[in-house]
Structure formats: C-alpha cells, structure tokens
Symmetry: C2
Subunit: 143 residues, 2 copies
DNA sequence: CTCTGTGCAAAACCTTTGCAGACTC
DNA sequence: GAGTCTGCAAAGGTTTTGCACAGAG
C-alpha cells in the first residue's frame, strides 16, 4: 500500500493529515522490516526530528484501528507493525533481518470448516505466520 | 499435560520443584483460558498467597524455555500462556470466554513447500491460531 | 475559526535485576 | 551443606493520560 493511498484513506475517514502522520507512515512504508514503536521513533529522529514518541503511539493506534497497519506476531516482540497491502494476507518473516514477505492464499478453508464442525465454534479470524531465514541471510551465514 | 508430568519434566531437567512452581503450574493447568502473568498472580492470591509476581515471571520463563508452556497470540495481549499438550499443535480461541481448544493437524505442508520454492526462504516455524466464539458463548448471546 | 492533533511532563504499568535469606535436593 | 530459588525493593522500559498550544481543514 503506498503512503499516498494510506493518506487518502485517512482523509476519507475524516482524520487530518498532519506532517507527523505522513512522516510516520513513510517510515513504516519504507521499511521491509516490521517495526516497533521505538524503532519507528528512532528512525524518525533522523529525517523528521521533533516528533514525539507519544505521537507515534497515537498514530499507530489510529492506523491500526483503520485497518491500515497490521501486526507481526512471530519473533521476539508482539508489537511491531507493517503497512498493510490491503485485504486478507499473511506473513513470512525472516529471523535474521526481520524482512517480511506477504502471501495471500492460505488454503485454510478446509481446516476451518472441519474445526467448525468438530467444535461448534463460530470462527471469524485466523492468524498465520511462517518464520525462517530469507535467501540473503542464508547466504551470509551470519544473522 | 498434567501438572504431575510437568513436575517430572522439570526435575528431569535439573530444576527444583518448589511449592511456588507447583502452585503456578496448577493455576495455569486448571484454567481452560490462557492467562497473563498478572492473571496468574491474582489467581494465586486466593489459594497460595505470598507468592510474588517476580516468581511468576521467572517461573513462566523457565517453563516456556523448557517448552512446557506455549503462548496465545490472537486477541488482546500477546503474553498469555497455556500448559502445552506436548508436541506440535495449534489453538482455537474463544473471544468471549477465552477458552482454548487445541488441534494438531494443520495441513500446512503444501503451503510451506510452495513458499519455500517461491521465496528461497528456509522455513522453520509457523504460528497458526483461529479465533471465534465457542458454543457456549454463542448460546449465551452475551460475551 | 473550530476542533483535532501535538508535545511535554508525569503517571501508570509491565518486566527485569540485585541481593540477602530460605529451602530443595 | 551447596547451590538454586524466592521475595523485596528498586531500576528500566513501555504505554497511557492531562493539559495548553499549534495547525489542518
């Protein structure tokens, strides 16, 4: 998702598009990795000093509740974010460099139906992530 | 996994089996829900007062690194724990009451192979959870 | 202009660490 | 007994909140 379309989406929902929000979106968007709030904050210091950590938190909450960001769970922390390609998708995360590759088709319908039948649950969401090492980290040995 | 076998497992690894650890294991084990460290701490207060929150944290770390506990990610917090049935398995979590049902066969080999081929990643782990409402919460309307 | 957003400071949590004494094996 | 484990206190982080001012629409 481009930062432009995120900006448009925000406007559509009646939120203001401030330079701070734009900067935060840019930082997340330019990264191939998933970023924690402090990651984002420290990257902002270089390019857009003066933005407060509080603003980062508030912007992340806003973007997340609008469905414009998604979380990555696998790995060390559970609070790291990515811009969302839009729609249903899942992540393949590199444990070396943190790079995230998305994929969309998760082939879980059969399993989901079976679980519904067996348990009586009503299922409305699932979380699927793979973790491993990306091709570069495998070559470099380190990481 | 029974608390007895967890205790045995601990001993096998050379850890001491203190009353505090036993109490913490019991509390987690007796719950159908996934529990956060403070959940566990507050349940301990009733039955085993005097145990410190610090001990809860240390015991959770110990149990987790021994593979005797596992985390639940979907939902509000990412730090909630369950005793582990042992071996590869996944969770189906009720958003109403927090109840967790395990299942083992995740049918992800095909998908995993495809991702390996397409991305060059080496995949060593995956996280799969379903969330919904259990049969009781559906009946009760509330939750 | 209005009303949302920001930054600062501080509060509220959550989690980890250091240390002396207690307890398991 | 030896060495791990616990509890307390305190430190270190992270996240949230209150409030006055600034800035987007």
């Amino acid at each position: 998702m481009t930062s432009k379309s995120i900006a448009a989406e925000l406007r559509k929902r009646g939120f203001k598009l401030t330079p701070q929000r734009r900067a935060i979106i840019d930082v997340i968007n330019e990264s191939e990795e998933h970023l924690t709030p402090s990651d984002i904050y420290s990257r902002l210091q270089h390019k857009y000093p003066g933005i407060g950590l509080v603003t980062v938190y508030r912007t992340l909450e806003l973007l997340e509740s609008s469905g414009l960001l998604c979380e990555v769970h696998i790995g060390d922390t559970c609070r790291s974010y990515l811009t969302r390609p839009g729609g249903h998708h899942h992540h393949l995360v590199c444990r070396g460099c943190g790079k995230v590759v998305d994929f969309t088709d998760c082939e879980l319908d059969g399993l989901e139906n079976r679980l519904v039948n067996e348990t009586g649950f009503e299922i409305d969401r699932h979380l699927l992530e793979f973790m491993g090492r990306c091709i570069n980290c495998r070559k470099n040995k380190k990481n």
